[in-house]
Amino acid sequence: MKVTFKDVTLSYDGKKDTLKNLNFTIPDGALVSLLGPSGGGKTTTLNLISGLLPATSGHIYFGDEDVTKKDALARKVGMVFQNYSLYPHLTVRDNIAFPLKMQKVSKAERYKRAEELAKLVHVDDQLDKKPAGLSGGQQQRVAIARALAKSPSLLLLDEPLSNLDARLRIEMRQEIRRIQQETGVTTIFVTHDQDEALHISDHIMVLSFGSIQQFSTPAELYERPSNLFVAKFIGEPVINSVPADVLRADLVESVPASVLAQAHTVGIRSEAIVPFDNGQGMVAKIHATLQQSQKYGRESTAYLTYNGQQLLSTELAGLPASQTEGDFFLTKAGFFLFNEQGALIFGGEAHDK
């Protein structure tokens, strides 16, 4: 189901707005991630959608229906909590069937549905166990099955992978993607891990300081961050950001003078610093000293110093170890200029004039 927020504001104490004038539309059938640092308002947004929190002002629509005044009971969404909140006194079968029991579905019917869902999430061999007897990944699967039991129009997941170890996290995020595609349910996924969000989402909403920084596809988020915060938040290693004055002289040729005059900060992705002109469009050539390079598995990083600023590049693995300085090129892709307010004014294919 389509979810629409219109000017939604939330304040916990009546003084400070935790969320300010949120406006967005989540398309039907999509998997959307709410991404952002801790305290940015991700879980608050999710709780507003679920109905566990009432909005201070504004309107929330499910499809065309205004659900602002409805509580969690009436909104009928499915939700997976960060610590799963499986009922410890019930077996896996009863946990999955619990929402149906609340709807007074007959025992035979709800157990049949529980078994189907258990098969979908691959826990059909654990049905008679209590949650305490399951591993973290299995508990996670049971929690998803329980959330899906009442065939919700919306599936909400609140940092569902944060309690799992690294390898399981990767497995489970693929599972969530698979289950979402098999069921076609509109899914909203809260995470603070950009890797998770970039890998499984159709759309990502970056939330920080109580407002939406950017709401777009994962690729666009990376290739065309709408502001400095998003540019810094998305991408590993973190984007190089240096004062515009450092590079101003080198950019006169490639950047319009009016844009350059407003430039305050330059953002350069680590893969945008290359040792030779690869013919795909360069914005600048800089002469820098090569400080140190390190190799971790297939990744290698090197630090360059230019005009007293340190820049990190991941594309210098081919250079001889003895080289200490040289000419380096900045590619058009992965090069951004931001104005004083942090908004993007140059870079990203669509903005290219």
């Binding site: 566990l52 009971l73 939700m79 009922y87 619990f98 609340m102």
Partner: protein, 297 residues
């Protein structure tokens, strides 16, 4: 240290540390239990010379045939059945309400806890006045709703109920505190999950609160059953040293007290103590068996 194998020397050292406590509990707990079990079998016994001439089961036969003891067992069972369920349910309800109140909740908690720290004698004095047939609050309030006054403390039909009401009131405070602790230990996440799962307030109470609080309910009811079986001081204080009008409040422990201190029939008193012991054991075992299925830790 942790993986060290116990040697004879280290074991002896450990026992030495345990000795002071062992001596005290052997002298004042274990030995009296054994001796009262033995005493219940003495049929010819001189208390002053501690001389036992004959042993047997005559004391139990005596109890089997004594109508007073039958009455005491009956009264005790009625008392337990009257006090424990009401205490458990009422204290859970009050704890739930107190958990909802934000304003003055500390004050209410103190008020409900007061009976627990007040002496039974003082409580009985107050209730003596509350139950007074002419000037008592109880009859006054009953008069307000149009009920006839009752001679709470002198009518044998009502005096056991009077005792039950006072005991419930006295037990509430401590049990409320236990339930409050249990309620606060329930993760709020379960309630959110249940709300998302479509459970209304009533369903959340039955499907989350009740199962999650079951260990406390079990503790409170076992504790209540044991305590109520042993009821004595409330009776003694409320009826000024009498087991109620026409023995209407005679309980097993009161019976034991009478046999021991006023009739000097020590072996009979010991035998009634043994029966009380097995009664409590039996009921507690039943509760344990029930808890296997219905208490979720």
């Amino acid at each position: 240290m942790i993986n060290e194998k116990p040697t004879l020397k280290s074991s002896l050292k450990a026992y030495l540390y345990l000795l002071p406590m062992l001596v005290i509990s052997l002298t004042f707990n274990i030995w009296p239990i054994i001796s009262s079990f033995l005493m219940s079998l003495y049929t010819k016994y001189n208390f002053y010379t501690d001389k036992v001439d004959a042993m047997g089961f005559d004391n139990f036969v005596y109890l089997w045939n004594d109508p007073d003891f039958h009455l005491a067992v009956r009264n005790t069972l009625v008392f337990v059945a009257g006090v424990v369920p009401v205490t458990v349910i009422l204290s859970l309800i009050i704890a739930l309400l107190l958990n909802q109140v934000k304003w003055l909740s500390g004050f209410f908690r103190t008020v409900y806890f007061l009976p627990f720290v007040t002496s039974t004698v003082a409580i009985a004095m107050v209730w003596n006045w509350i139950y007074h047939s002419d000037y008592g609050l109880m009859n006054y309030f009953m008069g307000l709703v149009g009920l006839h006054p009752i001679n709470w403390l002198t009518d044998p039909h009502w005096s056991l109920l009077a005792l039950i009401i006072m005991s419930i009131w006295k037990n509430l405070g401590f049990n409320i505190i236990l339930f409050l602790v249990g309620l606060n230990n329930i993760d709020k996440g379960y309630y959110q999950a249940a709300e998302i799962d479509g459970a209304n307030a009533w369903q959340r109470f039955w499907n989350v609160t009740i199962p999650m609080i079951s260990p406390i309910t079990f503790l409170v009811s076992v504790n209540g059953v044991i305590g109520s079986f042993k009821v004595f001081d409330q009776i003694f204080a409320l009826f000024q040293g009498q087991p109620g009008p026409a023995n209407a409040d005679l309980t097993i422990v009161y019976y034991l007290y009478q046999k021991f201190y006023t009739e000097y029939k020590y072996p009979i008193a010991a035998a009634s103590g043994v029966i009380l012991f097995f009664l409590i054991l039996l009921v507690t075992l039943v509760q344990l068996w029930y808890s296997r299925k219905h208490v979720h830790y």
